[in-house]
């Protein structure tokens, strides 16, 4: 296992390097106007703009820029925002905004797993029963109709019905409820539908029939074998889900005006704030890779059949 972890860690580091270099080079294609605030861009003439860009160092060749950027990151300097929050260090902005997304994200994740897994088990247990029918209707609505539509309608109707505030207020906990639930709705559906599917698949396998034939009670088979095996494919995505809660939800944060990370990237893109876009993209990319890495470790740990590390099986 240790050699597998080390090998996988090495691979992840290579991926991080490739992603950072690729994204960094792609971002060099961004419009040069993204290094100015709007007034500066209008007030400067062509030669002043060139001089300014030269002073920022963005006219240097990409390799020099990359070395400088990497050195900055190593010292904790992620660059400064230009148009979204003029002159603020990116690190400060992230530190201020991340907690909102993180707390909403984690609360919603706990809710999704709790309700979603329970729902999935109930649906699989009582296949074609009442639970299954209602669960399927719920999952179908959430997954088939674009989320913007029902998120918007929930906000309009529920706040009207219960007299809750339409937007997020930091000092009014009642305004936290709806965004959290909204955020969890897709997660609940995701856990429920996949757990149900994997459990039903598992239940049709020969070893389960054999266990039934031996007279092992259904509850025990479901808990000890079916559920455990059905959870394996889901567990792989768990670390990534936790880590990427920091990225926030774009729709929900902008519908409820939550000052989190979700809206930040889109604002940065709309206002062409190159340093902010660069820092956020690289941050999410690295978190994503770390999540996949941890997911693979978790999966190999819980399911010895997946012989990723070994040389047995498969075509060499």
């Amino acid at each position: 296992m240790l050699s597998y972890i080390l090998k996988r860690l090495g691979q992840s580091l290579i991926t991080v390097a490739i992603v950072i270099i690729t994204v960094f080079l792609l971002l060099r294609l961004m419009p040069k106007s993204g290094y100015f605030t709007r007034e500066d861009y209008v007030n400067m003439d062509e030669s002043a703009r060139t001089a300014y860009l030269r002073s920022l160092g963005v006219m240097d060749d990409p390799v020099t820029q990359f070395v400088r950027f990497a050195g900055g990151v190593a010292r904790g300097n992620w660059g400064r925002s230009i148009s979204v929050y003029p002159k603020s260090p990116v690190m400060t902005i992230i530190k201020e905004k991340a907690p909102y997304s993180l707390w909403f994200g984690l609360a919603a994740l706990v809710l999704s797993m709790g309700l979603g897994l329970t729902m999935g088990v109930l649906m699989a247990r009582h296949k074609d029963g009442v639970f299954d029918t209602f669960g399927t209707i719920y999952v179908t609505i959430v997954r088939a109709i674009p989320s913007l539509i029902w998120l918007f309608l929930i906000q309009q109707w529920v706040t009207g019905l219960l007299g809750w505030p339409m937007v997020f207020y930091e000092d009014r906990p009642v305004s936290w409820i709806l965004p959290t639930i909204s955020l969890a709705l897709t997660g609940i559906a995701w856990y429920a539908i996949w757990l149900r599917r994997f459990m039903v698949d598992e239940e049709n396998k020969d070893y389960v029939k054999f266990a039934t034939a031996k007279g092992i009670p259904r509850t025990r088979i479901m808990r000890k074998h079916v559920l455990r095996n059905a959870l394996v494919p889901l567990i792989q995505y768990f670390p990534q889900q936790v880590l990427l809660t920091i990225a926030g939800s774009l729709l929900i944060e902008s519908i409820y005006s939550i000052p989190g990370m979700g809206g930040l990237l889109v604002n940065a893109i709309r206002q062409q704030d190159n340093p902010l876009v660069q820092a956020l993209v690289l941050l999410y990319a690295v978190l994503g890779i770390v999540g996949v890495f941890l997911g693979d470790l978790l999966m190999a740990a819980v399911d010895p059949r997946i012989k990723l590390a070994g040389a047995q099986g498969g075509q060499e």
Binding site: T140, I141, A144, I149, F152, P233, I269, V292, E316
Partner: protein, 311 residues
């Protein structure tokens, strides 16, 4: 008691060549996979009804722009034609804030969104299926594909879109490229994970021992196992891409505002929802009918295409 174990040396074995006719020497019953699939699928009246609904809506969405003379972009200069309620005056679905006919706009929009969905589903599933089967089966390319997956999957889509919009122009093919460039690999990864658990199954070890060529193993032993998943993914890609278009419209990176699509209709209707709810409601009803039908039909077809449900 000690027993003598006879010595077995490698010379006693010799590799047999692959023999196609002998590979078929198994007891095939008179069983047609696709006939059973369709029979199982058509057993449920709900499936038939939704399939019919998909046909009718698709046909109508593609026929309406050809047959109707109403221009979905015709702006009424007369303010009394603005924001009319559905009914005799305002046409079937009413008119919007510029006096444009929402009934016409809904069907033009449905056509755009369906086309978008079909094109994306075709590319995503086609590429994803082939790449995924190879990825799961051939260990040599696992490293490269995993690397590609990590790179593609970890760059947020919005950034892809902006960079692509920078090179091309925001529009239909930009959305297709942006969604497919990340969509195919998540299908491929899903297929890969499934294949990896099939790969070491006994019947595949047997096939390998019998020197069956790789393309044949994939085609005969692996792909049929994946058909149910792939059909579900294809059907799900359509509601997904329609949803993605709505989402992109919301963050201002969708189709141009003058293009008639369900995404633009929903986003325009949303802004006036408080005063004129029907401007959001009716396009949404059509949109939901389409996405829900595809979703359910896809899932049911996946169930029907699973041989375990054929008995």
């Amino acid at each position: 008691m000690k027993r003598e174990i006879p010595m077995v040396s490698d010379e006693l074995f010799r590799p047999a060549p692959f023999n196609e006719s002998e590979a078929e020497l198994t007891g095939y019953a008179r069983y047609s996979y696709w006939r059973s699939t369709f029979r199982t699928f058509l057993k449920s009246p709900v499936s038939i009804a939704l399939l019919a609904l998909i046909f009718v809506l698709t046909l109508f969405a593609f026929a309406y722009p050809v047959l109707s003379k109403t221009d979905p972009n015709a702006v009424a200069l007369d303010t009394s034609r603005w924001n009319l309620k559905p009914g005799a005056e305002g046409g079937i679905f009413g008119t919007d804030g510029l006096g444009r006919d929402i009934w016409a706009r809904t069907w033009y929009g449905t056509r755009t969104s369906l086309l978008l969905g079909f094109v994306i589903a075709l590319f995503d599933v086609g590429i994803g299926m082939i790449a995924g089967a190879l990825w799961g089966y051939v260990k040599r390319i696992d490293r490269i594909m995993t690397e590609l997956y990590n790179v593609l999957n970890n760059i947020p889509q919005t950034v892809f879109l902006v960079l692509l919009a920078y090179i091309m122009r925001p529009g239909f093919w930009t959305i297709v490229v942006a969604l497919c460039s990340t969509g195919w690999i998540s299908i491929a990864r899903f297929v890969r994970n499934k294949v990896m658990s099939i790969r070491d199954a006994e019947y595949n070890i047997a096939s390998r021992c019998l020197a069956t060529p790789l393309p044949r193993i994939i085609q005969k032993n692996v792909l049929p196992y994946l058909v149910s998943i792939l059909i579900m993914e294809a059907a799900l890609t359509i509601p997904y891409s329609i949803g993605a278009e709505v989402f992109l419209g919301f963050i201002g990176l969708g189709l141009p505002v003058e293009a008639v699509s369900l995404g633009n209709l929903v986003n325009q209707g949303k802004n006036t929802f408080m005063l004129y709810p029907y401007q959001l409601t009716w396009p949404t009803v059509v949109l939901a009918a389409i996405t829900i039908s595809f979703y359910i039909v896809g899932n049911r077809f996946a169930d029907a295409s699973d041989p375990r449900n054929h008995v």
